[in-house]
Symmetry: C2
Subunit: 199 residues, 2 copies
Amino acid sequence: MKIIVIGAAGAIGQAAVAELSSRHEIVTAGRSSGDIRVDLADDASIEAMYAETGPVEAVICAAGEVSFGRLAEMTGEKYLYSMKNKVLTQINLVLKGLSVVSDGGSFTLTSGILDRDPVRGGSGAATTNGALGGFVKAAAIDMPRGLRINVVSPGLLEVSADRYGAIFPGHDPVSSRRVGLAYAKCVEGGLTGQVVTVD
Amino acid sequence: MKIIVIGAAGAIGQAAVAELSSRHEIVTAGRSSGDIRVDLADDASIEAMYAETGPVEAVICAAGEVSFGRLAEMTGEKYLYSMKNKVLTQINLVLKGLSVVSDGGSFTLTSGILDRDPVRGGSGAATTNGALGGFVKAAAIDMPRGLRINVVSPGLLEVSADRYGAIFPGHDPVSSRRVGLAYAKCVEGGLTGQVVTVD
């Protein structure tokens, strides 16, 4: 298959690429690196990316940004930022890709563990993760041409534990190998409308 | 208890008021009716509402708007509209209310069934419902002074079935009595961080 991986330079994107690259043609994309530069906040940039790749069998998105902060420090603007930069970005990638992904192909989005195993200060992330879970569940029954859609929801990655572990007390980091397998399950398997957790 | 019910004129708000009004002092609020007029999209309007009520023991929100449409007809703007008018509105109500609700008091928000039992055209609603579930799960462990937060997620109400039933094929409508009980469970019980479903 020809597969676009957006956010391929991040820890999660790298895990997906490592698992899939030996069996598939991977086109990497990202805001500041990759075969194609794309800004998911810009519809025209998404359209330009798809114009450059042409038809693909699968789209993986492992890009997104959220605001962290204790509830008392949060503002509506911080939640809006999180929803725009982790949820709407991925939804727009799907909407613009509906005519680009081949019959029976798939979209695989990325959320995270914090809506089922929360941490203090993580309500912005939890809100976006829950939103993505709801989106794929409903979008799956609205897809044309047998297209599938799922979201991978990984825990803290082992490779990210030094950097982020302090805000995830008691969380058991997951291996990049298992995260990569979750993307393989979504792309190569038959699931649709699922939140594929890696805990 | 003194309880604010926002969206008290709607079918869900009426169900909450019917269950709770015999035991509590209810202050109704809404955009176009109720004891207090409030626009949840306007921070100043929310602050004015809380200034008028003074301290309360519970806040119930049964107000929200989403865009419906098949995926191929949806746009990023429609998802953003849904997130602003069903998620951010309720989050702002919580953020502004953190200093108003008494020690041990509660917030009870409202989502809906479409993220767990989707219908075609319902991905905007499903996205917002999932977001609210993630939000309350994480916000619950970030709350000051023993405040609690939950979200009631009702199915299609019997009283709304004539109007909306056609877009919910096969859904078994729920009684207003059971919906009202869910709000009582959240307000009078001890739950926090829960999605209280009424199916």
